[in-house]
Symmetry: C2
Subunit: 424 residues, 2 copies
C-alpha cells in the first residue's frame, strides 16, 4: 500500500498515473496471427487452440449437444441467479430505448434520427482464471434489445477442449447460437476477417488479456469497431466518518482479486476510518482464495487522506476511475461534483459487485482514465443513429439562401447549384 | 463513369469496395511529428507552419485583434446566413438532450445515467482549397450544448500567416476563444500532447487530409479519443421515374467537387432518368470552378440500374454511404429498409447541401462504409454517460443472493464477500 496523508495538489498528476502499457512490440505478433487466420481460417484457429490453450478441438463450433449438456450441468440456484440478473439488466437497458422525435428546424424542414442496430456483432469472453459468464449477459442483453441480427461469441476452450458450462448456458439463455472455441488474438482476428465457421462482424465487444486488447486495437485497421480501449480494472472508494471500514475493505478487495494489475484507490477524510480500513483489508485478504493476486494489486494501491470530500472528488475526477464508490453520508451532494467516472455506487449498501452482476447497470466500463472521454457499454453501443431529413419545396426556399451564401463562401459552387437548380 | 446495368448480386461485394488507404508508411512520420511537438512545443508548430504551409507565424495564438478584424471583413449577408444555420443546428441538437430517468430494477435498487460533458475537446478545421467554417458550427454548437469547459480550435494559416475570416467569425460566434494557427498532423499532436499555448484535450473532432487522419489515429495511443475514423466523402443517390435528372446531377456533382477521391454512386430503376442524369452531369460539370477535381471523382463513379428500389436499397446497405439521397416518390416506404447510412435525404427537395449547411443535422458523418458500425457526430459525441446506483439495505438483500451465487460461480470470492459482509 502506498500511503499519502493530505498530498499536495501538485503531486496528484503523478499519483493518478496508470502503469504504462507496452504496445509497439505487439503489432508484429498481431500481424502474424491475423495473417494466419486470414490464410488458414478455421484450421489456424484449431492450431492456435493447441499452441496457446493446449486444447485439442477438432471442431471449433460449439455443438447443440454441448450446449444441452451444459444446461444439464448448471445447478438450479445458479440458473435462477443468472435469470434474475438478466431481468434487471434487461430492465435497465430497455429504459434506454428512445423513440425518434421529428424536429421542424425551419418551416418545411423536418429532421430526425432513427436507430438501427449494428447488424453483426462479436462478443469475446475470456477463459482463464474466472469464467466471466456475467459478461455474456452484459453484452448479449443490449445486443438483443438493439436488434443485432447476428451475435457471435468466441471464448477459449479449456485443456479438455470444453467451454465453461455457465458461459454456454448464459449464451443460450440470451439467444446466442453461434459460439466458437477460440480465444486470444486469434478469436478477434476470426471475427474481424471471418472464417468458414466464424462470421465476420462489424463491431467487437468484451474484455481480455493484453493479447486480446492488442488484437482489438489491430482489428480496427480492417474497419471493425470496438466497444472501447481497455486497461486493468479499477475502483476508487471515497469514505467519510460514516463509512464502514469492513465494507470499504471488502470493496477494495473485490477489485484487487481481479488480477495483480488491478488498480485500487481508497480516499477518506477520517483518520479512524483510514486506519481501520487498512486493518480490515489485511484481515480479509488472507481469507481469499485469490489472495496472492490480491496482495500484488494491494502493493501498488493508493491509500489517501484528504481534508474534505470536495478534495477527494477533485482527485477522483483527475483519476477518472472505472468504478467510484461514494461511501459517504450525504452522497446526493457529491453527485453534481462527479465529472469523470465509469459507474458510481452511492452509500454504504451499493457495493461494486451489485453492478458487476445484478443491479442492471452494465459492467463493461472505461478504465485507464478513459472515463474522461468514453462512456461504458449501453444500448447505444449496439446502435447507429441515422439522421433523416425531408424538405418540402417551401422548406428548401426557407433555408435556400443561407445554403447558397455559405456554399459560395466555402468555394463549393456545386453545393450552391444543388439549391439554385431546384428553386429556379 | 463506370456503368452497370442490372449487375448480378455476386458482383456487388466488389462494387462497394472503397479505395485502399495506405496506413503503414505513415506511422514513422507521425512519430517524428509527435516527438517534435512534444519536445519543442509551440516552436515546433511555428517551424512546421513554415515548412508545410509556407507561412511565417511568430505567434500561433490568434489574437483578439485578428478576430475583430475578421468580423469586420465578413459581409452582412454571410453573417446572417451563418447565424441562421447556427440556429437550426442548435434546435436539432438541443432536442437530443435527455433527462436522466431513474429505474428501480428491483425493490430498493435504483439505477440511472447522467450526462457529463467531455471536459476538454479539440476541433480541427482544414484550410486548403475550401475554408470549412460550416464545420466549426457542426462541432462547436453541440460542444457548447454539451457543456464542454474547454473548446480548442486549430486550423492552418495561409501563406500570409492568416486564418480565413469566416472561420474566425464562426468560432467567435460559437464562443470559442482558443484558436491556434497550426494545421496537419502537428495540430493534432499539439492538442494531444499540449504545448505552452495549445491546451491538451481529451477528444479530437474534425475532418482533414491523409496526414490529419493518420495523426488522429496515432493520437489514440496517448489516450485521446476521436470522433470517428475517416475516409473520402461519399454520396449515393437512389432515383425512380419521378426523380428529376437535373437535381440528381447537381447532387452527384456537389459530392464530386469535394475532391478527386470523392465517392459518387447513382442508382436508378428508370432508364430514361439514367441517361438524362448522365447527360446532365456532363452539362453541369463543365460550368463548375472545381470541375477538374469533379471530373476526376466522376472517373471512378458508379452509375447503376437496378430492377427495383428494394434492390437499390440492398446495394446501398451493403455500400453503407455517408449520404443517401432517396429521390423517389414513395420514400416513406423505403425508410424501414435503410440499415446502413450516415444521413438520409428524402424526396426531390432534400439536397445534400441542405444537411451540409443549414437544415440542422450534423454533417460530420461516417464514410468509407463506417456507417455500418458508427453514427455521425451528435450531442452524445461530446458527452459521457455515467451510470449511478443506490441500493438500500433492503435493496441489497433483494439481489444479494443472486450476486453471491454468480460471484462464487465465477470464482470471485471477494465479490461475494462484499455482499455477505453487508448482510450478515
Amino acid at each position: 500500500m502506498k500511503i499519502y496523508r493530505f498530498p499536495e495538489k501538485e503531486t496528484w498528476a503523478d499519483l493518478v498515473k496508470r502503469p504504462v502499457f507496452e504496445r509497439e512490440e505487439m503489432s508484429g505478433l498481431m500481424k502474424e496471427i491475423f495473417e494466419a487466420v486470414e490464410k488458414d481460417g478455421d484450421q489456424a484457429l484449431i492450431q492456435f487452440n493447441e499452441k496457446f490453450d493446449k486444447a485439442i478441438t477438432p471442431q471449433i463450433v460449439v455443438s447443440e449437444a454441448e450446449i444441452k449438456k451444459a444446461e444439464d450441468e448448471i445447478p438450479d440456484a445458479l440458473k435462477k441467479a443468472i435469470r434474475q440478473a438478466k431481468e434487471n439488466i434487461l430492465k435497465f437497458h430497455a429504459a434506454q430505448i428512445i423513440e425518434p422525435e421529428k424536429i421542424e428546424t425551419a418551416k418545411g424542414v423536418i429532421c430526425w434520427r432513427e436507430n438501427r442496430a449494428v447488424e453483426k456483432v462479436g462478443i469475446y469472453i475470456p477463459g482463464g482464471t474466472a469464467p466471466l459468464f456475467s459478461t455474456v449477459l452484459m453484452l448479449a442483453v443490449p445486443a438483443n434489445l438493439a436488434g443485432c441480427k447476428e451475435i457471435v461469441l468466441c471464448t477459449p476452450p479449456d485443456r479438455n477442449g470444453n467451454i465453461n458450462p455457465a458461459i454456454l448456458f448464459t449464451a443460450k439463455l440470451c439467444g446466442i447460437t453461434k459460439i466458437f472455441k477460440t480465444g486470444g488474438a486469434q478469436a478477434i482476428a476470426a471475427m474481424t476477417l471471418g472464417t468458414a465457421s466464424v462470421p465476420r462482424v462489424y463491431k467487437i465487444f468484451g474484455p481480455g488479456n493484453q493479447f486480446v486488447v492488442a488484437a482489438k486495437e489491430y482489428a480496427q485497421r480492417y474497419g471493425v469497431a470496438i466497444d472501447m480501449p481497455a486497461g486493468p480494472s479499477e475502483v476508487l472508494v471515497i469514505a467519510d466518518h460514516k463509512a464502514v471500514p469492513e465494507f470499504c475493505a471488502a470493496d477494495l478487495l473485490s477489485q484487487a482479486e481481479h488480477g495483480s494489475d488491478s488498480q485500487v484507490v481508497f480516499i477518506t477524510t477520517d483518520l479512524t476510518v483510514f486506519t481501520e480500513t487498512m486493518d480490515e483489508v489485511e484481515k480479509q485478504v488472507s481469507r481469499l482464495p485469490r489472495n496472492e493476486m490480491a496482495r500484488k494489486a494491494l502493493d501498488h494501491s493508493l491509500f489517501i487522506v484528504t481534508k474534505n470530500i470536495e478534495d477527494a472528488l477533485e482527485f477522483s475526477n483527475l483519476y477518472a476511475p472505472e468504478h467510484l464508490i461514494m461511501a459517504v453520508e450525504n452522497f446526493e451532494q457529491s453527485i453534481p461534483l462527479i465529472e469523470n467516472a465509469g459507474s458510481v455506487f452511492l452509500g454504504n449498501y451499493s457495493c461494486e459487485s451489485a453492478g458487476d452482476y445484478a443491479s442492471g447497470t452494465n459492467h463493461t466500463l472505461p478504465t485507464n482514465a478513459y472515463a474522461k472521454n468514453y462512456s461504458g457499454v449501453s444500448l447505444d453501443s449496439f446502435l447507429k443513429k441515422i439522421t433523416f431529413q425531408h424538405l418540402s419545396r417551401e422548406g428548401l426556399k426557407n433555408i435556400g439562401k443561407t445554403i447558397e451564401i455559405m456554399a459560395e463562401a466555402e468555394g463549393l459552387i456545386a453545393h450552391k447549384n444543388a439549391v439554385s437548380i431546384r428553386l429556379k
